[in-house]
Point group: C2
Chain length 181, copies 2
């Protein structure tokens, strides 16, 4: 949520019947409840290769990421994952399990990362990607990944690659985050 | 989000650089991005009994539910689950796995339901509960459960009761929702 000091909800107050401060707009009385956001995405494999997207938008332009993005209203996490893969990589997915639930509490984000395979072998960059490519495991661009959770999800994918039933991972313990997210 | 026609964001427009309509406030220009909300909760067991809370607040006052509620900003799903169990049932939890990820797309809600046990045997109603009680499986108040997802989660709990590693369930297929949520 973008809040400026000039307009919109900008005063912290505890509304009646609530137990914590919320942002209110002193002009119109509107209460802006802020809620954590859900990111959905997938580690997508095709013939032992992983599909990644080179970001065309901030943050982390030029770095590689999973097809992923914010869940929209009225959408299931599975549908949102398929939508993001289409928007960013023109890829159609078959989901094969929930790979991980990552919590980025500092930025109030919960990520649901699925495992998926390509339903058909076509893909192409959507408007938010410079490039979309399949990488063999040994050639993944580890030093050019966009976010720590991409690294986590890829490593988790490898750990459970041959399992049909997935127990979703949570944040890895003791793994340093190598850059600010 | 509560929106009235008199104040707050109430005009649908596609903001620059976006691809779908968002609610704008014509008085102050504020854009209210709406996002799906995350509910966290737990099926809590203690000595082969299940802890349920009788709701003291709308909706579904007087019906039984899991300790659960909206994830707050800056919180991990696990911390949110423990907070809700404390607020509603004065219970301290040990989480033992992610039992289910339910999608209520029509109301833009994703529910993360954990399995948990009581860390110590004390509990008591918090301000949002009329009563908190432990039920043996054979005496669960099936006809007085507050929401369909409570039924789903309890049934799922039973299915995987003796498994140490949980593959989270999703919405059951072909199970009728017995009342509107």
């Amino acid at each position: 949520m973008t809040v400026t000091k000039e307009n919109g909800p900008r005063e912290l107050r505890i509304p009646d019947g609530d137990d914590r401060e919320r942002l209110l707009c002193p002009d119109c009385g509107y209460i802006a409840y802020e809620n954590p956001k859900i990111v959905v995405g997938a580690v997508v494999e095709h013939e032992a290769q992983i599909l990644l997207c080179k970001r065309a938008i901030e943050p982390r332009v030029g770095y590689w990421t999973l097809p992923a993005g914010f869940l929209e209203m009225g959408e299931s996490p599975e549908d949102g994952t398929r939508r993001e893969a289409w928007e960013e990589a023109r890829a159609r997915l078959e989901l094969t399990g929930l790979l991980a639930v990552y919590s980025l509490a500092r930025i109030s984000q919960v990520q649901l990362i699925y495992r998926a395979s390509l339903a058909d072998p076509s893909f192409a960059p959507g408007p938010e990607s410079q490039e979309v490519a399949l990488f063999p495991w040994d050639s993944l661009p580890w030093d050019a990944l966009a976010f720590p959770t991409v690294t986590w999800a890829l490593e988790r994918y490898k750990e459970v690659q041959f399992l049909s039933e997935l127990v979703p991972a949570t944040n890895p313990v003791g793994r340093p985050i190598r850059w600010a997210e």
